[in-house]
Symmetry: C2
Subunit: 632 residues, 2 copies
């Protein structure tokens, strides 16, 4: 019998000393509990998303030093952990220090090597370079090393042999992507198990949460275990890490797959926990547990958001927040969500009416604040906006010309944006600074897609926690918060029922049922196809689907919707081009200056979906089909 401690701990990115301290205390505890092996996630020492800090030798030396401390603790216990490994005598392909994303196995205060290995560690073989991952930017892979050594990569992927209670244990050690080999030319797990002598596979990971990813992992990893008839221990980290523009939660969900593919152990998502697993594995399986937890999308999203926001606030030492509440759904959801993360006493809700705000929404904002028990203030913006417009029109422009007139005129559109900036850059930013808080950005993903927001206005804030959620998910979250979390209507039903509106002009009068130009039941799905679809849709795809009648099915929106919304092809095409121009034009410029976005979907804006500020483009095929419909 053997006892393995799987250590799903909160790795703090860029903090080797802190992580080392934690690792050592987990080791101490595991020794007390007579574990034979303790295992830590990928990059447990430095963290994973640390940007170009990988370019600092002094940082790398510090990570090495921490690694030595861990090895020195491998006394009476075998330790498996992830860290960066540096070969100071070689270079990466960018000419910088040679670095490996590595897995170390230590026993008797020494590092073990796999058979014939050139290094006393295992190297990550498959390098993800998509979404938030940039492994090839920083690390040398096993395949690159094989090329350099003029060897077959298979020769470099060998198991380690530990001695547990005097008996050999052959362990196959891989890192994260190595287990997701579907589209790579080799399968490290299959290579490690080829001679049937491997007793167990360890996969140490740094795998950020994505809605639905755990289901896929269960399928893929169960199959690996089953096909090779070997148990597979998957250890993931918890915590949050970011690449600047996008923040990821790491959900842990560390899992032990038995040799028959069943789930033998499962660590609760987002919990820092050391699980002790006895081998051979007991018969009872934890299959149901895992699937129960990941059943409901909105519940998963709620968990990811509350965890992610909470950790981010901690990280930046922010104890108070200011939230502008309009009486609309997005800000109401933000307020209800934050109120579950920090005490309502530390939340200041602010309603900032102008002449265009209805008493309907003003009353709803107050009702929301009362329901949540947050601090609340009303800060009207009309005087300030009027002052600005008056000051502008009274300003004398010297050396004026036909391009820049001596006296300025303020259009209603300009006035709308003045309002939006007055609210955020003047009121919210000022109030936040006055009480030592941050103010939130409440934008959803549909608005963020097309830049339906004002720069330095409602697009600003310290964090855009809802910007990876489509409007339908915001509504889902509102209902979930009321029903499952608060168990009462803290978000007034009228907030959910009212037409979404920015209330920046008379054209957006909610009492007359007028609001946003975004038709969410359709545009949520249209925009989603631009960014989240595996093969990203462009107007060409959309128009071809429209032509052949498969559009609603392809987008996943409600059948019949397109006909309801658009009277004819011209109408449809105008709408499509209007939003595509914004999505791939001005909205990119706005996203470049957007706050960091908390990721939950399979493609979040920021540095997950990578974008250039280019001119909107229409393919030849699109232009042909368009012409067929409506001529030039």
């Amino acid at each position: 019998m053997m006892k393995i401690c799987s250590c799903q701990f909160e790795v703090e990115a860029g903090q080797p000393a802190k992580n080392l301290e934690k690792i050592l205390s987990f080791i101490k505890e595991a020794k007390k509990n007579n574990a034979d092996i303790i295992i830590f996630p990928e990059m447990a020492v430095p963290g994973y998303f640390i940007g170009d800090t990988w370019d600092s030798s002094s940082f790398l030396r510090d990570c090495e030093y921490c690694g030595q401390k861990i090895i020195a603790a491998a006394d009476g216990i075998a330790i498996i952990f992830g860290n960066v490994a540096v070969d100071w005598h070689k270079r990466n392909r960018d000419g910088r220090q040679r670095k490996y994303n590595a897995l170390f196995v230590a026993q008797n205060k020494q590092l073990l090597s796999a058979e014939n290995s050139v290094y006393p560690f295992a190297i990550k073989t498959l390098h993800p370079n998509y979404r938030e991952f940039d492994d090839s930017r920083y690390f040398y892979s096993t395949a690159m090393l094989a090329t350099e050594l003029k060897k077959d990569v298979r020769e470099l992927i060998k198991p380690f042999t530990l001695f547990i209670k005097g008996k050999p244990l052959v362990i196959g050690c891989i890192l994260c992507e190595d287990g997701w080999n579907d589209d790579y030319p080799i399968s490290p797990i299959d290579i490690l198990c080829a001679d049937k002598k491997t007793d167990i596979i360890f996969n140490i990971s740094a795998s950020p949460y994505t809605l639905g990813k755990n289901h896929k992992r269960h399928r893929v990893f169960s199959r690996h275990a089953q096909m090779n008839n070997v148990p597979l221990v998957y250890v993931n980290k918890v915590g949050i890490q970011n690449n600047g523009k996008t923040i990821y939660t790491f959900d842990g969900s560390s899992t032990v797959y038995a040799a028959d593919g069943s789930i033998a152990d499962y660590a609760m998502p987002y919990q820092e926990t050391a699980r002790y697993i006895e081998f051979p594995l007991k018969k009872e399986v934890a299959q149901n547990l895992a699937s129960d937890i990941e059943k409901d999308d909105i519940a998963c999203i709620y968990k990811a958001l509350t965890y992610g926001i909470g950790k981010f606030l901690q990280k930046i030492h922010m104890k108070k927040v200011v939230i502008g509440i309009s009486g609309g759904i997005d800000s109401a959801v933000a307020a209800a969500l934050y109120s579950r993360i920090i005490s309502p006493e530390n939340i200041l809700l602010v309603n900032m009416p102008s002449v265009y705000n209805s008493s309907t929404t003003k009353d709803l904002a107050r009702e929301l604040a009362e329901n949540l028990g947050c601090a609340y203030a009303v800060v009207p913006i009309q005087e300030s906006v009027d002052y600005t417009i008056r000051q502008f029109t009274e300003t004398k422009i010297h050396h004026a010309s036909s391009d820049i007139p001596e006296q300025l005129k303020i259009t209603s559109f300009t006035a709308e944006n003045i309002q939006a900036r007055d609210r955020s850059a003047r009121v919210l930013a000022g109030l936040a600074a006055a009480i030592g808080a941050g103010f939130t950005c409440n934008a959803n993903k549909a608005e963020t897609s097309v830049g339906y927001s004002t720069l330095y206005g409602d697009q600003s804030g310290f964090l855009a926690a809802l910007a990876d959620l489509w409007k339908y998910q915001i509504y889902g979250l509102a209902l979930y918060l009321n029903k499952e979390i608060y168990k009462k209507d803290v978000i007034p039903q009228a907030v959910i029922d009212i037409v979404p509106s920015a209330e920046l002009s008379a054209d957006q009068n909610v009492d007359e049922g007028r609001g946003d130009p975004i038709k969410y039941p359709y545009h949520d799905y249209l925009f989603r196809s631009f960014v989240e679809r595996w093969d990203k849709a462009t107007p060409e795809d959309i128009l071809l689907w429209y032509e052949n009648g498969s559009l609603e099915e392809k987008l996943g929106c409600r059948p019949g919707l397109v006909k309801e919304y658009f009277t004819d092809p011209t109408d449809f095409i105008n709408d499509l081009e209007h939003w595509w121009n914004l999505f791939s034009g001005m909205a990119v410029a706005k996203r470049i200056q957007a706050p960091p976005i908390l990721a939950v979907s399979r493609r979040a804006y920021g540095f997950d979906q990578r974008e250039a500020q280019n001119t909107p483009y229409y393919t030849r095929r699109y232009r042909e089909v368009r012409q067929h419909f409506i001529g030039k």
Copy 2:
């Protein structure tokens, strides 16, 4: 004799149709001029920096279609061009469509293949994955293909054979990084020339401008030509491309290296031009030309900035700009620079004094505007700021607590930021909207390094054109503008002489010689070592250099400076930690929301220097040395 047309043209990223049109017209002209071969840069059809647009099949099909049109034009002329190549039957390692960064050779309306090639195109072998480059995110390399085909990569790197006037011409075709092989396991040029039968090497590139890069290229490529005794034709594009946060200029500077390593032809930087080069190469060399042009750093920077800003304005269809001018150096340089790019009549300079602004700087601002002949306005902010502070203090907070008091107090620091946001988010953004302009961000690289700016305040704007320049470069540019460009002091000498100051409080009174807390002659170089140094410096490096007396030499700043500025180690360490905490802390948060930055250095902020918003870190070694100096 043979005539080659090297086509250094402006590729617009993400606009295949537009690029195709240009390519076809260059081909037409080259045919008229009896060129035997015409050659276009890397990714001449789609452009290079297009973000995740590579994930759209419909976009890829459009690029393929454009490629076919180019092939069809290869009639009486051989055409070499860069485009994306798609293998619709295979997948990339991320599971998406197989894509290659490819070079096509067309003759007689058909694509040629290299010997034994599996595809009718050459594939980029060496993939850059550093700075702004993400080739492995999107493209499959020759090395990956070799692994898949279980072949040696060398077997896949073979020359093409063209027939020019009935005679065979063996051409080695490579893409960009393939010529920069120093840190890669193979050298494509050496492989192509191994059997001494290759007549000429073509390197098609998409190589962004970096200060000093051309000198290095001349060294590296001259050596390649010389070592292999073969002429090398390097064709680069012009134009600008961006990855969202960072904008790059492509300077062209296409060069022909003779077999003896000398420069035989050189295309003017930043010019769209088709050069006709006759082979065998004439004896006169253009060596001096190339080195003359790249002699003076500030002249190069001036060229890159004016080109980059001009093209960016064109791209986003912006004809007018608003520039806030304080009477200080950064905004003065911005105003003088923009005035060379667009007509002064389309530039509105705005001075926005508060009670803290001296008449010295107010007068200098007016003088600058008069010198440049721009439209000019004075928009005082005191009333508006006072209104905001009064409104805040009069606002009643309901449901107040010990954390959020019933009545707010506005500290002087909060008031400073209120001023900064009032200027940018209220006045500049509003005025810009009113006249259909954008407003500029005038931040320099030192300020950007440590976030010495206000979010939604002076850090905002549509473009941060100076944010890759250290303060000493800003001064250099001011002198260059006066002396070389305007040939008079359009930037008043007093603007250059005055102490740099934000003038946001009485503590920053310029007339009393008080200003920014940044000591530019030292901090410029300290901050540069954090970001631009090959091996990025951390406080550990700085303190060790300080300890052993090599700091000024390592940083490149003026000797003796450290002693002048810092009375003792405690003073030095406090300063170091203060700025490091900002650089790796709050400043990252600010950069995440900063405008796009125009790159000139070897590491610009944005998506060149990649960063995560993590907690500032000090290594163990740093903490030890620090303790040695000043104890706990």
